[in-house]
């Protein structure tokens, strides 16, 4: 972050100018940067550095603040300093802007003689820039490069308000001169984080090893050097902002079948858990960075099958059921930590002992002590077929439906499938069924079906629905 003071104050740093002899970015003045990153693409940046201020009014310019900074959230604090006003300039330097700002001013035109290669230069006033540049040279009017011949245009300087990057400038009134720490704090989108879990399931022992990594991404346009970084597992509401991410998070499956009630021992911020990184780190622009936060070996887990029918439907082509892995994050018999939202990737060792990927599942913010059930994908060998055997009408709003479900298993071992019939709308009773069901809710019934090795099991049920 470059940091220059202009106006009535002394030029603070000659570093930028002196560094231009190197083909390297300018060395940064020592700044103490803290970044607090929330889940929903939002970060609080705190930048503390020592500035030598003069007494009275002066303008402090902050180049290379996040290109996505929310300037209204910026606040500057320092001992004995009052903020007069804050400006965020985003008129960016480009050839077209520079020419527009040169209207009414004098530029130098350098022409190259096509026959001799000799250069000649003259002064020109820019009259207009509208789909082309009209110049006044001496007492004649000319259109720039109308003849197609080479002509350089040289401007004296970069116009004051045009900048290479969006720049935050703060007019301050300092009581007394001298060096003092100055703190700039602002909110910016473009920094975010999520969790990525590696879950290796051991089929013979029914155990799971879980590693958790926080993955932080920076698309804010600048780098944060040696930043003290804290991640907040939570999504503060963003007033009056289009917050698509939060809506999506609410809709997504969280994998949680029972929310936990255990309190973790991590640091907290209000209702959120904090994940401070152990060491300062540089979050470069366009970078994805991962840091470990969880490593649990041999937690108990189980594997099962689940299939869910959205309504009383006929599926003639057998459909694969979902392969489901279940575990807990309780302190007893579980991962023993709350789990920030992200993605869980499941692996299983193949016959040669190499871990192979078997699917992934989203996970929500999960309090400690929760029960989790996550689907990795289709079971190749276990399938369900459902048939509406008959549907009869007693009246326009009173129907009777007979269903037959066939669960087939091509594995050489018996499997247990949770067969869930959703869509039992209205007042739906089960009149008859081939095995007892569990009513999950008014809209949903569940059968636990054992399918024998290389065999099939049929379940039948008759529903009586009044709407």
């Amino acid at each position: 972050m470059r940091f220059v003071s202009l106006g009535s104050g002394a030029l603070l740093l000659g570093l930028v100018a002196s560094a231009s002899a190197l083909a390297q970015p300018a060395p940064q003045p020592a700044a103490d940067i803290s970044v607090t990153i929330y889940n929903n693409n939002l970060a609080l940046v705190r930048d503390v550095r020592t500035l030598d201020l003069t007494s009275g009014r002066q303008r402090l310019e902050f180049k290379d603040v996040s290109a996505e900074i929310r300037p209204e959230t910026a606040s500057l604090t320092a001992q004995g300093v009052n903020v007069v006003e804050q400006n965020f300039d985003y008129d960016l330097l480009s050839p077209a802007k520079m020419m527009e700002k040169a209207v009414g001013r004098v530029v130098t035109i350098v022409r190259t003689n096509p026959a001799t290669g000799a250069e000649s230069s003259e002064q020109a006033e820019v009259l207009a820039v509208n789909n082309g540049v009209v110049l006044k040279i001496g007492d004649r009017i000319e259109v720039l490069r109308d003849d197609g011949l080479p002509a350089r245009v040289i401007f004296d300087k970069v116009p004051e308000n045009l900048r290479a990057q969006p720049t935050l400038s703060v007019m301050v009134d300092a009581a007394g001169a001298g060096a003092r720490p100055v703190t700039l704090r602002y909110l910016t989108p473009g920094l975010g984080w999520r969790a990525d879990y590696v879950a290796v399931y051991d089929e013979t022992a029914s155990k799971i090893d879980v590693q958790g990594w926080v993955t932080l991404t920076n698309t804010s346009g600048v780098s944060y050097d040696a930043a003290k970084t804290v991640l907040v597992a939570g999504t503060p509401n963003l007033a009056a902002m289009d917050d698509g991410d939060a809506d999506e998070a609410a809709d997504a499956s969280t994998g949680m079948t029972q929310a936990g009630t255990e309190t973790g021992n991590r640091a907290r911020l209000g209702d959120f858990y904090l994940y401070p990184l152990a060491e300062r780190t540089t979050i470069a622009n366009q970078q994805t960075k991962q840091v470990s936060f969880l490593d649990v070996r041999g937690a108990p887990a189980s594997h099962g099958y689940e299939t869910r029918l959205a309504w009383m439907q006929t599926i003639e082509e057998p459909r694969s059921v979902q392969s489901v892995y279940r575990f807990s994050n309780s302190a007893q018999g579980g991962l023993g930590d709350q789990l920030p939202a992200g993605t869980v990737r499941f692996y299983i060792n193949d016959k040669q002992g190499a871990p192979q990927f078997i699917g992934e599942s989203p996970i929500g913010h999960t309090p400690m002590g929760s029960e989790l059930s996550m689907s990795t994908g289709d079971a190749f060998d276990v399938k369900v077929k459902s048939v509406v055997e008959s549907r009869t009408r007693n009246s326009l709003f009173h129907w009777k439906t007979a269903m037959r479900y066939t669960l087939s298993n091509a594995l050489p071992k018996p499997v247990t499938v949770a067969l869930i019939q959703d869509g039992l709308w209205g007042e739906t009773r089960i009149l008859a069924e081939s095995q007892p069901s569990k009513r999950r809710s008014a809209e949903s019934a569940e059968w636990t079906v054992e399918a024998p090795a290389n065999g099939k099991t049929e379940v039948t049920a008759t529903f009586d629905s009044k709407y």
Partner: protein
């Protein structure tokens, strides 16, 4: 000790600890293993070379020499479709402090953006004399709106003067890499050599099963061959890799594609350059020939299937092993999965699979229409009795028949993931010789309750009744087995048929035989409850 002191000193100055970390380049990848997964949304059909929706798990082993202290270990030449969040690094003595994926790829734009504010050299060539002028310059801005630079003469814009001009740079700025790079910050107590395993998921791979079914001369059985077609759409080749294929559909969470390579673009846009005479618009480019390049490629790929059959193929790989609820195929030898390449490997070869051929139509009970061709259905069962009994992964099937001495394409069908013991039903095409027409002969309205509804729905909702006839014609010289199925939704039911009616999956079915060069009519009534 000295290192620690130095590190402490640096942190006291609040300089980045990575500054203390030494850059270490990991050795080239060895013992490469790649496992390919198909696109999760594709339940059957072939892959599209231009749009590979699958992915791969890549594992590689590299030798690294770590100095004592902190190191920034760089893995160069990872596949460009890497999903860096999935990367797993094992084998480092003290573990991993952090993993990074920098999108900073060396490109002209990245070079110019990295040089903003620092001194570079402006090079101009005089077109007439050929004289080259080198001037120190500083880039003031470089983005998609243009490039502005400053020299001792003043401020100018790049590519506006009409002169040949460019910049030269002294060196590549730190942090820009020529290939996609993953880096890991690690710490070693003493200098050490370690063997590190890196695994990650990468996009832009895919595979599908391509089945070739050739009818035996008596047309009662088919010889089934299946090829694994796999493709790598990345720009990195996987040389001599142990290759596996996983069959089955996996869940993928939201697509976390890595951010675009190289950051923002730089375009040397100039100020408005209109002139007094607007040049005549350039003539439009000649129209592209109707066959695009892509189409040619696809045609070639199609042709390679039967051609591949001609050559004696290597034996198919052993049956797949169970991987959780998926199937893992090991492709025998180590293969090279080159960049932007698709390749085919034999998956299975089963001779003389018996099947039955049936014609079918699936019509709405109560509907009507003109003559339409029947669907050709081939049926068998995936078991040992039918010379199968092995997992059949999703893909595409091409059916070949004999015409004289030639084998010609006689139909195509998509194949879904089919487990052992399942029925296989292939709808390979339409039969012009067998046609079906459904005619409504009589309609009797019931109690009109909801008159805006379609006749079919009216039938279901009140006591309406329709009598209809299905006529099936056969222009073939052999009797055709035919299955007429009726879709009866809500409480519609079919009665009073003049042919025996069965039920299949809750719906009425007529199993008929249409005589050679003849016709069959079925009459039935459809009514509401």
């Amino acid at each position: 000790m000295r290192q620690a002191l130095l590190a402490a000193l640096f942190s006291a100055l609040a300089l980045p600890p990575p500054a203390a970390a030494r850059d270490v380049i990991a050795g080239p990848p060895r013992a490469l293993s790649v496992t390919l997964y198909r696109a999760p949304w594709r339940q059957g059909g072939s892959i599209e070379l231009g749009n590979l929706g699958g992915f791969a798990l890549i594992k590689e082993t590299r030798t690294v020499h770590l100095p004592a202290g902190d190191s920034r270990l760089r893995f160069e030449g990872v596949v460009d479709g890497i999903q860096s969040a999935s990367a797993i690094v094992t084998g480092l003595p003290e573990g991993v402090i952090e993993k990074n994926r920098d999108a900073a790829i060396l490109s002209p734009a990245a070079l110019m953006r990295a040089a903003i504010g620092v001194q570079i050299t402006l090079v101009r060539t005089n077109r007439k004399t050929g004289k080259i002028t080198r001037t120190p310059a500083t880039i003031r801005s470089a983005d998609e709106n243009g490039v502005v630079f400053e020299t001792t003469q003043g401020v100018e814009a790049l590519r506006c003067s009409g002169l040949p001009e460019t910049f030269t740079y002294d060196r590549v700025p730190a942090g820009l890499f020529s290939t996609p790079t993953l880096s890991v910050l690690t710490r070693a107590k003493r200098e050490t050599t370690a063997t590190v395993t890196l695994s990650y998921l990468a996009d832009n791979f895919d595979w599908a099963a391509n089945y070739v079914a050739t009818l035996t001369p008596d047309r009662r059985a088919l010889d089934l061959t299946a090829w694994i077609t796999l493709a790598n759409g990345n720009s990195v080749s996987l040389l001599d890799a142990g290759t596996q294929i996983v069959a089955g559909r996996l869940n993928r969470a939201r697509d976390y594609a890595d951010s675009g390579e190289g950051g923002p673009r730089v375009i040397a846009t100039c100020w408005p350059t209109g002139t007094t005479s607007i040049p005549i618009a350039e003539p439009p480019p000649p129209e592209q020939p109707r066959t695009s390049v892509a189409e040619i490629v696809v045609t070639a790929a199609r042709k390679s299937v039967p051609m591949a059959m001609m050559a004696p193929a290597p034996p198919p790989p052993p049956p797949p092993e169970q991987l959780g609820d998926l199937k893992l195929y090991r492709l025998g030898e180590r293969t090279t999965v080159a960049a932007r390449q698709s390749k085919q490997v034999l998956m299975l070869s089963q001779a003389a699979v018996p099947f039955t051929r049936t014609y079918g139509a699936d019509l709405y009970a109560g509907g009507q229409g003109t003559f339409t061709p029947a669907t050709i259905i081939l049926r068998t069962r995936n078991d040992k009795a039918n010379h199968l009994g092995l997992p059949l992964p999703a893909g595409h099937l091409e059916l070949f028949d004999h015409a004289g001495n030639e084998e010609l394409l006689a139909g195509q069908a998509d194949v879904r993931d089919t487990a052992e013991g399942e029925d296989v039903e292939l709808k390979v095409g339409l039969a012009p010789d067998v046609q079906v027409r459904q005619t409504r002969l009589a309609y009797r309205a019931g109690e009109p309750e909801l008159t805006f509804l379609t006749p079919e729905l009216l039938l279901a909702l009140h006591k309406g009744r329709v009598v209809e006839e299905a006529e099936i014609t056969n222009a073939g010289a052999a009797p055709a087995p035919f299955e007429l199925r009726l879709q009866t939704w809500n409480a519609l039911h079919v009665s009073d048929a003049d042919q025996p009616m069965g039920m299949k999956d809750g719906r009425p079915i007529f199993r008929l035989t249409v005589p050679a060069n003849g016709r069959v009519k079925v009459r039935y009534a459809v009514g509401g409850p």
